[in-house]
């Protein structure tokens, strides 16, 4: 057995012990640098993920569309459990998440949102369940993670208006993302270019945190890396990591 094979074998055994969702498939972003960072090569289905913006409304909006882009690429209906009423459905459609696929559940409070999420997570065959909350306790996150694991439905907890500098308490989520708006490229004419986001993978079970500047979702929910980053020579990237 060669060295890579041994390492792969060890990795899978560790993953089996940790219970990391290798039983369910992963949804890749289609961007190799991002997918490489995630065990399984993408967003693990049948697991709990955390997504946050910041206290600025524009960052929460960016995180919303980021999330819609992920869900657009998973097949099946989506249950979006709401506490606030500011979600604007046309924007989900623009990210490729067809309005017929999304069922909005106006639960009204954190507790009810978590209840509704757990109810939804018991049902297999959904593309995903989103819950917008202000706070997520460790216990609640464990319950959601277990429910998601057993049904194979992917859960996303969207922490609204989450301050960037808070020390994140431990949750059972497999990944934690923070999405913020980033300055876009000036087109040189009085118009706006494709929006850019600062996507920060704050925590990932079985991987290292990292952040990227990406270009926002297109109509199919796909992100892209800015052209000058893609075209940059590979050594530059390596050196940056080493320094």
């Amino acid at each position: 057995m060669g060295q890579p094979a041994v390492i792969a074998d060890l990795r899978s055994r560790i993953a089996a012990i940790e219970g990391v969702g290798h039983r369910h498939a992963a949804v890749p972003f289609g961007i190799p640098p991002v997918d490489r960072q995630l065990p399984g090569g993408g967003i693990a289905t049948g697991a709990l993920h955390e997504i946050a913006g910041s206290t600025e409304l524009c960052d929460d909006a960016a995180a919303t569309v980021f999330l819609a882009g992920i869900l657009a690429r998973i097949e099946g209906p989506v249950f979006w459990c709401l506490r606030w009423r500011d979600l604007f459905a046309p924007a989900l459609d623009l990210a490729g998440l067809h309005p017929d696929r999304v069922i909005h559940v106006e639960a009204g409070s954190d507790t009810n949102v978590l209840l509704a999420m757990e109810e939804c997570l018991r049902h297999p065959g959904l593309a995903g369940v989103v819950g917008e909350v202000a706070k997520l306790s460790t216990t609640a996150s464990k319950r959601l993670q277990l429910a998601a694991e057993s049904s194979g439905t992917t859960a996303f907890v969207f922490r609204r208006a989450s301050p960037a500098d808070t020390l994140a308490e431990g949750t059972a989520a497999v990944t934690r993302w923070r999405v913020r708006a980033a300055p876009s490229l000036s087109l040189g004419i009085p118009s706006l270019g494709r929006p850019r986001w600062d996507v920060h993978l704050e925590r990932v079970r079985g991987g290292e945190p990292k952040s990227w500047i990406v270009e926002a979702c297109d109509a199919q929910g796909r992100l892209a890396l800015p052209a000058q980053l893609v075209d940059r020579p590979a050594q530059a990237e390596e050196r940056r990591i080493a320094s």
């Binding site: 909006a61 919303t64 604007f88």
Partner: protein, 468 residues
């Protein structure tokens, strides 16, 4: 004269007059022979129709209907909405009516007959005494002799009766007087025997020993549901609504009601929905019998084992939607669908969660924000008129410097709103700008008015959303 309408009453005609006397007051009076049996049958039919609001309805001859709406209001979006709907529908059918809601049947009965408000009256929980005290003693559903006797003694209003020692009155008028008073005030229970439509699927379990625990209820519900599903299979129907009755040892009956988004015969699913509501039942001294009724059924063909995975998925969503609807109320679950309209806040319609939309979408070439600020909030803006985007704006006391902007996108009010006047009104034109501020955040701002003619708006600025 048995009964008169409002126009006749205005002429001074009252029930109890002879026809001759009435004719002398109004020669052109239309007189119809009284038909007490027909009236009773019609009242029964109307009561059955009221079953759409509550499982617990009973006719109260000659001219009343009881509806026990406890726990049913949520299905209609609240008690007020239920009453409004009930009032509107019955009034449209041509009946004159007065609705009253109270904690006790006696109090509702009295208020409905003695307070001619025209609109539904709601007596707040615990306020029976306040509501009853000014009403005449006849409001207590007493026998004719008792009312006359009380009048002679100087008792006109219920409050006088409440404040008087009971002994002497009881000796003179019998126990029924205070029994009716206690029932109206909620000190004594009063059972109403509900009626059921004749041919609805229904099954009943009498219990040897009274039961009072949710677990025991759950087991009986399981039995009842499987019996009922058997009946539904024979009829080729699926249940859209189920009422489960709990008959208490003391003669009270309570009901829990569930609704489903699509007709179903899935025993496990129905039992689960019912069991989720069992905590609303107050068992008191124990439940001695339970009845399960399916007042609303719809045709449901027999299905083969689901081989296609797609069909399986649909069924799953139906069950999930039912579970969430019964927990959070029907208004909380919806899908968004495009609605033709000029302004963004009116471009999203809510449709039922299980409605298959026609695949309609919004225009995909116009930018729309992920989070909408509704209603739009006023901001202070520095911008050059008429057409330049803002250079800077202040929102929630924070200053945002605009780096780049896109726009304007001009939106007009819909001409069909406000009886066709909105397009002519000021404030009907909005110029939307998508702006990127320092740091990359993108916001959606608009200016009321077209920037040139003040007739189109006062040129003030608002923030309406945040983009990705």
């Amino acid at each position: 004269m048995g009964a008169v309408d409002g126009a006749a009453r205005a002429l001074g005609i009252a029930p109890g007059m002879t026809v001759t006397k009435a004719r002398s007051l109004a020669p052109e009076l239309a007189v119809v022979d009284a038909d007490p049996e027909g009236d009773l049958a019609a009242l029964g039919r109307l009561a059955l129709w009221c079953g759409r609001y509550s499982p617990f309805v009973a006719p109260d001859p000659p001219s009343g209907i009881w509806i026990d709406i406890s726990g049913c209001a949520a299905l209609f979006g609240g008690e007020r909405a239920l009453l409004k709907d009930l009032h509107r529908r019955i009034a449209q059918a041509g009946y004159a009516l007065q609705i009253a809601v109270a904690d006790t049947p006696g109090c509702a009965h009295a208020v409905a007959r003695h307070v001619p408000a025209g609109r539904p009256i709601t007596i707040d929980p615990g306020d029976q005494r306040k509501a009853m005290s000014l009403l005449p003693v006849a409001a207590l559903r007493l026998e004719g002799g008792q009312v006359d006797g009380l009048r002679k003694l100087g008792f006109d209003r219920v409050e006088q009766l409440i404040g008087t020692p009971r002994g002497p009155l009881a000796r003179r008028f019998g126990r029924t007087l205070h029994q009716q008073l206690d029932r109206a005030l909620g000190h004594a229970p009063e059972a109403i025997e509900p009626i059921f439509p004749p041919e609805v699927p229904r099954c009943r379990r009498g219990l040897l020993e009274p039961i009072a625990t949710p677990e025991a209820f759950g087991r009986v519900i399981g039995d009842l549901v499987s019996d009922l599903v058997g009946q539904l299979v024979q009829l080729g129907k699926g249940a859209r609504r189920l009422d489960c009755w709990f008959h208490r040892v003391d003669g009270h009956a309570q009901a829990i009601r569930i609704g489903t988004a699509a007709p179903t015969r899935d025993a496990a699913h129905l039992a689960k929905l019912l069991q989720g509501r069992v905590d609303q039942v107050e068992p008191g001294l124990g439940i001695e019998a339970m009845t399960l009724v399916a007042p609303l059924v719809e045709p449901l063909g027999s299905s083969q084992a689901d081989l296609a995975r797609a069909a399986h998925k649909e069924a799953d969503i139906g069950a999930l939607v039912d579970a969430l609807t019964n927990r959070f109320g029907p208004a909380s679950l919806h899908r968004a669908a495009p609605r033709p309209g000029g302004m963004p806040e009116r471009s999203v319609a809510s449709v039922a969660a299980l409605d298959r939309g026609g695949g309609a979408r919004w225009a995909d070439d116009l930018p729309r924000p992920g989070r909408l600020i509704d209603p739009p909030q006023p901001i202070q803006v520095t911008a050059m008129l008429p057409d330049h985007p803002p250079a800077m704006f202040v929102w929630k006391r924070k200053r945002y410097r605009v780096i780049q902007a896109d726009g304007p996108e001009r939106l007009h009010g819909e001409w069909w709103r406000e009886a066709g006047h909105e397009a002519l009104q000021p404030y009907a034109v909005r110029d939307y700008f998508q702006v990127e501020v320092e740091g990359g955040g993108r916001y959606w701002l608009f200016r009321l008015g077209d920037g040139e003619r003040t007739a189109t708006g006062p040129m003030t600025w608002f923030i309406h959303g945040a983009f990705a």
